[in-house]
Subunit: 457 residues, 2 copies
């Protein structure tokens, strides 16, 4: 075969940039359970959310319109790097010796190297339109914080970021990017909020967690009359990411292909939802040309979808946020320190959990070592060194491709490569030198203890 | 104006990927002075170079054919990220309040984030074709080493890299990328070569330099029966980079524009030659639609073009390489440690120096602080944080744009943005926190001392 091992890029002209986000709530077989007020335990109203979000985003959160137009000002920024490339990973296929056809949609071409600006830009845009001067947020490894800092600099909106302390201290590069874009970044837990002070009083050496940083960012927002931005989990966030899947669908059509399996990594669920939802929409509307499976890949160290309980829980550690029904490990679960910091969250997006409960998607948990092994193979064949989070999707795709090698099936696999790993190279160094931390497995006892603290609804 | 401040991307379909490199030697008003043998001081023959390079690259080095076909196997790899985007920097223009139209060609979309793979891929390809199993090279900050490691992994050729020790120790990220791609990387000066041992005997704490690392890589190549790759300076290297300018010319045409000024940063000259040569070729063939200026921007700490002597000199510190006539600060000049490690080289490409002598191009030297100032403004308007090397081009373009603001001229400025700064964020941190090292200015005495050691020809 002349093209054996030759990786191919499918190239979408700028005129094909999506004009609207796809809202899967329009097509769900059953509606989402409502979000509840943390005090009354009753469904929240738009007014309850108004201290946190501008009204346009609140409307998007609960909308059941199938398509929501992307404002031209947002598309102008998207166009700086979108449409993003889709590749047929022939070099990886050849290295695996698989008959499977592997495609990946690459979001590392954005200015901050991940999919996060797809939602950071509209979130800041709608805040700017509402007259907001400042937004607050949390970040783990810093992918989300960097994206929001970038978006803030594009629309001249102030950005205040609470970064999980262990990342703030040990992985300074993304913080330096946030600061260079002009954002303020504080290690969390901090003494800037009551939530942070409470955690520090209990444990002055707390390494922090996304849940704690969310508590601080929400409190800081309300106190300062700012607004709050979240990088994943919420319906509108996942919807903004559907530009990924909408583009991928067109690019797969260019390649004359349609996936048998779609694979994405899941932390809060936004990159996963972004690539998967437009395809699931086709299934729900009976427009999909064939059946396909969807596989969510999460770290075994933080296995919300595979081992969490489907229940109402807080999004943050202190308990300031509304209650969302989703797969959770418990809001004060402290995930072990893994390099895929972006997947280190106790909960899951309500939409992703709902689809799991409806058996529309599957989920698997994988160890961190097998993910780096996959990432290094990917780098040496496809040339791109993926972020540790993205390595979970690479690993998931390889698992599917190796199944095909065994059965001889020529399945078409599509996966989301949500970002590059330039700022995660020390983690690769640990893998290369054999000093990667051993895989942490959550014990049954620890899980039971964390789940015992779920709020009663 | 509806589009005021809206940065625009000019998008070239993959079918427009150049099929041939442009060789400026075909169109030079006067031929290049010959390269001399370091022993005989006579023009070198292809056989003299055969221990270092495969014959195809030696032929390219001296060719006067106008176009040299890019092998399909190289274009297959190029296509993973090429054509690269060209942008109209309207957001930057607006921030500057300039009537100038600023365009930039962005090479940071490559897998290693710089223009270097444009030549690393063909260099490894021609070596592979010649049956070579291993190549050696040097690198400073690691842009080149990372690119060659990437190319080595694409063609399954072993790569051994000597990295300037101060970068090896203080900026580990790019080394970790090289290692993840499977290359071996050693701090230079090392005790693996006689050249390294000699330097270490004189100064056990030598921080190293590109010149020393070249000595080691050349010696290691010859000793091991490997071949040697150079990331800049040589004619064939600059020629491989002309894909940048060829694409840019088509993209400028799409924008209905032609530059009045072209700006590039210069260390060894490859990124500069890459964007500039196709335009200069038009000038030499009397095909340029209008006159234009060309400005090379170099660091004032290492000002070869603006303050060096145009003379025959070695490419390396120890004196193993052929003698090239170019602007040099002296082969054992030790440039002060600036963050733009890729511009920290005592010499300049023969072609760039020749064009400077023929008054076809201008050169300016700028300080590092003004470059970071330019880079931060660029990041906060255009969204991309440039590499410190690229900041020199940004600064040069801003200088031209501010001149237009003064005169009211609506000039068209094109500059090369050769890479992103994800792995250089600690340098931005120093700038942000006001702790950037003060600009180093080369004293007349130090320059005279370095130039006194030029070989007599």
């Amino acid at each position: 075969m002349a093209d054996d091992g030759v990786t191919v890029k499918y190239f979408l002209p700028e005129s094909e940039l999506p004009k609207a986000w796809y809202n899967i709530q329009a097509d769900l077989p059953q509606p989402l359970p409502p979000i509840l007020h943390p005090g009354t335990k009753q469904p929240i109203t738009p007014d309850d959310l108004a201290p946190l979000f501008p009204m346009e985003l609140i409307k998007q959160e609960v909308s059941t319109e199938r398509y929501i137009e992307i404002p031209e000002e947002v598309r102008e920024i998207y166009r700086r790097w979108r449409p993003s490339p889709l590749y047929r990973a022939r070099a990886l296929e050849k290295a695996l010796g698989t008959p499977a056809k592997i495609y990946y949609k690459y979001e590392g071409v954005s200015p901050v190297g991940s999919h996060k600006p797809n939602t950071a830009v509209p979130q800041v845009y709608y805040n700017k339109q509402a007259g907001v001067k400042k937004v607050t947020t949390e970040t783990g490894a810093g992918q989300w914080g960097g994206a929001l800092a970038f978006a803030g600099s594009m629309f001249d909106v102030e950005v205040e970021i609470y970064q999980v302390k262990v990342s703030y201290e040990t992985k300074p590069y993304r913080r330096l990017a946030m600061e260079t874009y002009g954002a303020k970044c504080y290690p969390s837990p901090s003494d800037r909020t009551e939530a942070g002070k409470k955690i520090l009083a209990e444990d002055p050496n707390s390494p922090g967690s996304l849940g704690i940083a969310i508590s601080e960012a929400v409190e800081a927002c309300v106190k300062q009359g700012a607004k709050y931005c979240l990088g994943s989990v919420l319906n509108h966030v996942l919807m903004h990411q559907t530009v990924i899947g909408e583009e991928a669908m067109k690019q797969m059509a260019m390649a004359g292909a349609y996936p048998d399996v779609i694979v994405g990594c899941t932390g809060g669920g936004s990159n996963f939802g972004g690539i998967v939802f437009p395809f699931l929409g086709q299934r729900f509307r009976k427009e999909a040309p064939k059946p396909f499976r969807v596989v969510a890949v999460e770290p075994s160290a933080c296995p919300s979808l595979t081992r969490g309980k489907y229940a109402y829980d807080f999004g943050d550690t202190v308990g300031l946020t509304p209650l969302i029904k989703s797969h959770t490990l418990g809001h004060d679960f402290m995930p072990p320190s893994v390099h895929a910091g972006g997947l280190r969250y106790h909960g899951m997006a309500a939409l992703v959990s709902h689809l799991k409960e409806l058996n529309e998607i599957e989920a698997i948990a994988v160890g961190q070592k097998e993910c780096f092994e996959a990432g290094v193979l990917f780098g040496r064949t496809e040339g791109i060194l993926p972020a540790p989070e993205a390595n979970h999707a690479v690993r998931g795709a390889i698992i599917e491709a190796l199944k095909c090698k065994e059965t001889g099936e020529e399945k078409t696999i599509l996966f989301g490569l949500c970002g590059h790993g330039f700022l995660d190279l020390p983690a690769y160094d640990k893998y290369n030198s054999g000093t990667l931390e051993p895989d942490a497995t959550l014990s049954e006892d620890a899980l039971a203890a964390a789940l015992a603290k779920l709020p009663s609804v």
